[in-house]
């Protein structure tokens, strides 16, 4: 037996690798930030990548016309040093800075800017983000191939440092779209050097090939290894940049990430495993951070299938869910109860609360719909994509519907892609969904339930609601009036309940006290231009 232990011990010694000074301490000393970055990033091409872990890195290595202040998400100068919006809110004029340089030292010209947007919308590239710029004149027609002359789209070079964008309608959130990571300005010369500019699998994003306009420059990117970016000395605002390097560590497992953080290997974690949250919360740990996030977890109801075509049934289902119990007990406060679709605090917008947890009224509604005490209601299926977290919530709701309404629900789960296929074919009764806003405006949530939206997937098609979103809201004379009209539209939507909101996402993560310049915001945006490390 001793032999065994000895063998195992030797093995442990050989395999185990020990580290001296912790990465965090060393990072604080040298100005190197270590971030837990979730899954392996798919791509670092702004017009190709759609995943969150890629976006985090692209924030550092690319730059758009404008950037966002991390504290209040207000627009700040980027490649454009200033901008003007005309009176009717439809023409945006940007002054391109003269001292802008690519990371290889070449000047950033207005032609680069124009070319970047032409690539953005080029139908051959298949940019998944292209819908974001549909507010621009003729952009949608160009993407759909209706017109093939890019000069007809609302982008224009006025002179060598003036760039203009014309919109179809006033779009108050348009600057956010321009600041989005997908709208980054990309280097034409370099991209063309590595083959077709519309090829997704181009090699220009490799470390060594990559040239960017961002405050940092890609230094190392090997599969499954930390991605390293270092300060770009050619960046126009290089004086302000305090970090020397950022290491993005691909770590998918939350428990591992948390241990790495505790071991002093990471400055910032992407999240925290749910079961660890209470301990951090109860001890008021200074490294624990929690903030509202621009996302909603909800259930889609297939409104084309009886008995769910009856609005009273949908309302009864929504009102018999005890959301407090779910967020408190099932989810360990990783979310807050939602009674509307738009998360509270979206650009100053507070959503309506048209209903509450009220089993009594829910039973009444169900009886009015013809199913007193659930009698005659067919057994139905609650569908979710395979995951332990979704299952736990579904089980809780299954019990609530049984207890309050006496309805028999079976749970079904499907592998992700099969699940998406099922959604597209409307082949479900009720299904789990989540939505993260693309930009901070109620529209990114509310247009989801319009009849033509590709992500609607509920069969809900209401011309009145469509008109509210596409005509009534945009014609609002002031921004305040616009939000009030959104409020009305959301009230209307929630009275019809094609989607049952459950909770608003909250992001919880760990951050070392030495990290400064990271602010809580609803987008969970870290602007690395502001971040610095304090050497203790």
């Amino acid at each position: 037996m001793l032999k065994y232990l000895f063998v195992i011990w030797i093995f442990f010694v050989i395999v185990g690798c020990s580290q001296g000074e912790s990465r965090v301490a060393e990072g604080n000393r040298l100005g190197i930030l270590h971030i837990g970055n979730g899954a392996e990033p798919s791509s670092l091409d702004p017009q190709v990548a759609t995943d969150v872990s890629s976006a985090q890195i692209m924030q550092a290595i690319h730059e758009s016309l404008i950037t966002l202040n991390p504290e209040n998400l207000n627009p700040e100068p980027g490649i454009a040093e200033s901008w003007e919006i005309n009176e009717d809110g439809k023409v945006y004029t940007f002054k391109i800075r003269q001292d802008g340089r690519w990371s290889n030292g070449d000047p950033i010209t207005v032609d680069d800017v124009y070319w970047s947007f032409s690539r953005y919308l080029n139908p051959a590239l298949g940019n998944p983000w292209s819908y974001m710029l549909f507010p621009v004149v003729n952009a949608e027609r160009y993407v759909s191939g209706e017109i093939d002359d890019f000069s007809q789209v609302g982008f224009e070079v006025i002179d060598e440092n003036t760039f203009q964008i014309r919109l179809r309608n006033p779009t108050p959130y348009f600057l956010q779209l321009i600041a989005h990571s997908s709208s980054a300005i990309v280097p034409r010369k370099v991209i063309e050097e590595y083959g077709s500019p519309t090829a997704r699998y181009s090699q220009w994003t490799r470390a060594g090939n990559m040239v960017g306009a961002g405050p940092f420059i890609l230094e190392r990117w090997d599969i499954s290894q930390p991605i390293v970016v270092r300060k770009n000395p050619n960046y126009w605002g290089a004086d302000r940049i305090k970090l020397r390097e950022i290491w993005f560590h691909p770590i998918e497992n939350g428990a591992t990430e948390e241990r790495l953080f505790r071991a002093g290997q990471l400055h910032i974690s992407g999240g925290i495993p749910t079961d660890k949250i209470p301990a951090y919360e109860d001890s008021n740990s200074p490294v624990f951070h929690s903030q509202a996030y621009l996302g909603t977890y909800y259930y889609k109801v297939n409104t084309t299938r009886p008995p769910f075509d009856n609005v009273k049934v949908r309302l009864a289902l929504a009102m018999s869910i005890d959301r407090e119990a779910i967020t408190e007990r099932v989810m360990q406060r990783t979310g807050s109860p939602a009674y509307a679709f738009v998360p509270p605090g979206t650009l100053g917008y507070q959503p309506p609360k048209t209903f509450d947890y009220d089993p009594e009224i829910a039973r009444q509604l169900l009886a009015e719909a013809g199913y007193p005490d659930g009698e005659g209601f067919r057994e139905f299926e609650l569908m979710y994509n395979t995951s332990e977290g979704h299952r736990r919530i579904a089980v809780a709701i299954q019990q609530m519907w049984k207890r309050e309404l006496n309805l028999d629900v079976t749970l079904a789960n499907q592998e992700w892609k099969v699940f998406l296929d099922t959604m597209d074919n409307l082949d479900f009764d009720i299904a789990r969904a989540g939505w993260i806003g693309d930009y901070v405006d109620p529209l990114t949530f509310l247009d989801l339930s319009t009849s033509a939206n590709g992500n609607n997937n509920t069969g809900f098609a209401d011309p009145v609601f469509d008109r509210m979103i596409y005509e009534y809201v945009p014609s609002a004379p002031t921004e305040r009036e616009r939000l009030e009209r959104f409020y009305e539209a959301e009230e209307y939507l929630m009275q019809r309940m094609p989607i049952i909101p459950l909770y608003t996402y909250e992001s919880k993560y760990l951050m070392a006290p030495s990290v400064k310049g990271v602010y809580p915001n609803i987008r969970k945006l870290i602007n690395y231009r502001y971040v610095y490390l304090e050497d203790q």
Binding site: K3, Y4, V7, F11, F12, V15, G16, C17, S18, Q19, E40, S42, S43, L44, D45, V48, A49, T50, P123, A124, L125, G126, N127, P128, S130, Y131, V143, S144, G145, T198, A199, R200, Y201, Q203, T205, R206, D222, I223, S224, H249, P250, I251, E252, N253, A255, T256, R259, L260, A263, Q265, E415, W416, K417, V418, L420, D421, D424, G434, G454, N455
Partner: protein
Amino acid sequence: MLRFIAGRLLQAIPVLFAVVTITFFLVRAAPGGPFDDEKAVVPEVRAALEAQYQLDQPLHRQYFSYLGDLLRGDLGPSFKYPGRSVNEIIAAGFPVTAELGIYAILVAIMIGGVAGVTAALRPNTLQDYLPMSAAMIGICMPAFLLGPLLLLIFGVKLEWLPVSGWGQLSGDKLLPSLTLGTAYAAYIARLSRGGMLDVMTQDYIRTARAKGLPEHIVVVKHGLRAGFIPVVAFLGPAFAGILSGSFVIETVFQIHGLGRFYVQAAFNRDYTLIMGCTLFLSVLIILFNLLSDIVAAWMNPRLRAQVGGGRRK
């Protein structure tokens, strides 16, 4: 011998062809595609994406063009990781899988060998029954059960060892290697026990003992050499099995080896990556089986005559 090897390699060609064909059509038959995502893209964009990867062409044409690329050694671009080729992902993932496999084999040989020899020294006593029952449990226990079990005990409850990763935290290579090696350790224990039992009753062992050699030298120097032959023969298929079996381990422990990319590729419908991994592993399994046949033939004169062909006539 050369003829034997050439024959086996020729046999491998139709096998690989069948693997490619079946996999190709099976993955296409699965619901959903590489560009389905939570946020549905505009139809025109989707069409453009599919056109970039020739998914808009008829299936048979895609198949033949894939075969054409394959003959040139090109496994195509990955769908999920634009800018990365499948060849490159395999090249990045395989060393990790191979390292895990080597540790697992070492674990298996060390634990299995010690257990088997210990058991063989005192057959039909407690010293035999105990390790052999443990081996039986080891064989019966699937890795997807043993892995989480070890994780729960050493990772979550005791917090002695990391729960996932590879080379990120000290000691994180231990649990995966142990989990993957255990089932094979059990086989090796049984094989080495059998081998040793055979050998230890041989005349030359009695001679060695008669010379007055201490028992441990008899066992280690004279016994093991012959007693381990069945184990050596088993190592080839075992290593092939470990490489393909490491998917489960890599998924449980979230190790960025080939197995994990393979499993993720299936979830992502990353067609080319699924094909590439399947093909690569098939080739490995064929090669390791061939290798173990060659080693077995080399060790066993009777078999050697058989595969040598001509001489037997």
